[in-house]
């Protein structure tokens, strides 16, 4: 394990950023999101949850796939190159890392998404334990340990010291590179400090209102029963059909592929899509989900039923609680789970 004083972090960031991109929580006009480190950037390590999850480091909100150029009546195609440079993501939280695991399931299984794979290969994740978890957090439900994130490097901020523990080969490599900045911390004091912090975090997690949410009954076996439940009819009503939940979510992976006419040709790009949108999966014949109820159901069925059914029981929710915080109509996955629980509980 290593450590570094909080006040020395800017120097560390500068060192990392010297020859590669460094993504970390940056505050812009009052909101914190993951962004590229720059000298003048306002780094914010205190905000627990960035507005958007850091998934766009690996799966950007929009990325160009190829560009066509037009000259007279001739067209030429120029594909986009894959990510070739290494980069570091600093300050990801345990839930977000779990989110990346979910994305891996989607993009790294056959057929492999080469754009995503290239980014995963070149990225090193330095994760930060959640110092003060909030009432909207429920990662515990999905077996995430907020106290000890599973990343290339795990880190803890205890008072004014950052403890740094490389846990993979990638992490080791990065650590070596930063040897001049990181101080060895193999003393008992450091071990204790980290252990205490972990303990503290875990005990808070126990106390959180959502931490004991039960997901019993959410699996592929009950697909039709859940699908046909009359509850959806009530639950979806307040939904505004905006895409906030999907765009802040660390696991939502749906995208659309669109063309942009640049005047001299066409740029084909993909961008995040939202199952909440009326033109989601729109096809020539129309749309197979014509009502908001169906679209709303899709999102939760996917996260809690379809995904685990196809991925060895792994839910595609990680309990980060962003949707809980951001839904304009105060809807969220917890309310959905609870509503079913109540109804099914009443039935039993």
């Amino acid at each position: 394990m290593y450590k570094i004083k909080r006040e020395d972090l800017p120097a560390l960031f500068q060192k990392i950023a010297a020859d590669q991109e460094l993504y970390l929580p940056v505050s812009t006009a009052g909101q914190t999101n993951f962004g590229v480190w720059r000298e003048e950037a306002e780094v914010d390590l205190d905000t627990l949850k960035t507005v958007k999850s850091p998934k766009d480091v690996f799966f950007p909100q929009s990325e160009t796939l190829y560009t066509c150029y037009r000259e007279g009546k001739k067209l030429s195609v120029e594909p986009e190159t894959l990510k070739e440079q290494d980069f570091v993501v600093f300050g990801m939280k345990a839930c977000d890392i779990k989110g990346v695991e979910v994305l891996d399931r989607v993009f790294l299984s056959d057929p492999i998404d080469t754009f995503y794979a290239a980014r995963r290969d070149h990225g090193t994740i330095v994760a930060l334990a959640c110092h003060e978890p909030e009432e909207t957090c429920f990662c515990k439900v999905f077996g995430v340990d907020a106290a000890h994130p599973a990343a290339d490097v795990a880190a803890w901020m205890v008072e004014d010291t950052l403890y740094w523990k490389p846990e993979t080969e990638k992490g080791q490599k990065l650590t070596e590179k930063l040897a001049d900045f990181l101080e060895k911390a193999e003393d008992a004091g450091s071990e204790t400090a980290v252990a205490e912090e972990e303990e503290k975090i875990r005990s808070i997690m126990e106390e959180l209102p959502y931490s004991h949410l039960s997901l019993e009954g959410w699996n592929g076996d009950v697909l039709m029963e859940k699908f046909e439940s009359p509850l959806w009819e009530e639950l979806y009503k307040p939904c505004l059909a905006c895409g906030t939940c999907t765009f802040v979510c660390p696991t939502c992976q749906c995208y659309d592929i669109k063309d942009y006419d640049t005047g001299q040709g066409v740029q084909r790009y993909r961008c995040w899509d939202s199952c909440m949108y009326s033109d989601f999966t729109m096809m020539a014949h129309g749309n197979n989900r014509t009502s908001q109820k169906e679209r709303f159901r899709q999102r939760f069925m996917h996260k809690l039923v379809y995904f685990p059914a196809n991925n060895d029981g792994m839910y595609s929710c990680v309990g980060c609680g962003r949707c809980v915080e951001k839904c304009p109509a105060s809807l969220n996955i917890v309310k959905v789970v609870k509503a079913f629980q109540e109804k099914e509980g009443a039935k039993a």
């Binding site: 942009y260 640049t262 005047g263 001299q264 740029q267």
Partner: protein, 148 residues
């Protein structure tokens, strides 16, 4: 910007002209041989009220450096009131563009009647000068449209 560079800058200017007054005014400028910069390209619309803010933003998106809308003088609209609506719409739109920091000289509305060939050519002169002095539109441009 150096003088040479300024001379090289050829602004792209889109002029929306209403069919009844301003397009005819431009025709008159032509038949009177009143020259103005070739950087101005005219699009014929039935009335200034046909000009949607989307058209103007689209022009900027595609790299236009200035957009001018010409219509009949207030009170002379072929459709009675079209230019009155256009006047309000454009005033508000221009004000919004100004508000978000787009140089306000990039947009202009001018009323040019079918008899005002001279005014048309003068207006285009002035507008081209203004846009040339403002230089390339960079604040309202979609970078994807830039020629590589």
């Amino acid at each position: 910007m150096s003088i040479e560079a300024r001379e090289e800058f050829k602004p792209k200017i889109v002029a929306f002209c209403c069919n009844w007054c301003s397009y005819a005014g431009a025709d008159l400028a032509g038949s009177s041989r009143l020259s103005y910069s070739a950087d101005v390209k005219i699009i014929r619309v039935p009335c200034s009220c046909r000009v949607n803010p989307m058209f103007i933003l689209r022009a900027f998106e595609r790299g236009a450096d200035g957009v001018i809308i010409c219509g009949c003088h207030p009170g002379d609209c072929h459709y009675t009131s079209g230019n009155y609506y256009a006047r309000r719409r454009m005033t508000l739109l221009f004000s919004m563009l100004d508000f978000i920091g787009v140089e306000n000289g990039r947009t202009r509305v001018e009323w040019v009647s079918a008899a005002e060939g001279v005014k048309f050519s003068q207006t285009m002169h002035e507008f081209v000068d203004k846009i040339t002095s403002l230089g390339k539109n960079v604040r309202l441009e979609d970078l994807r449209c830039r020629k590589s």
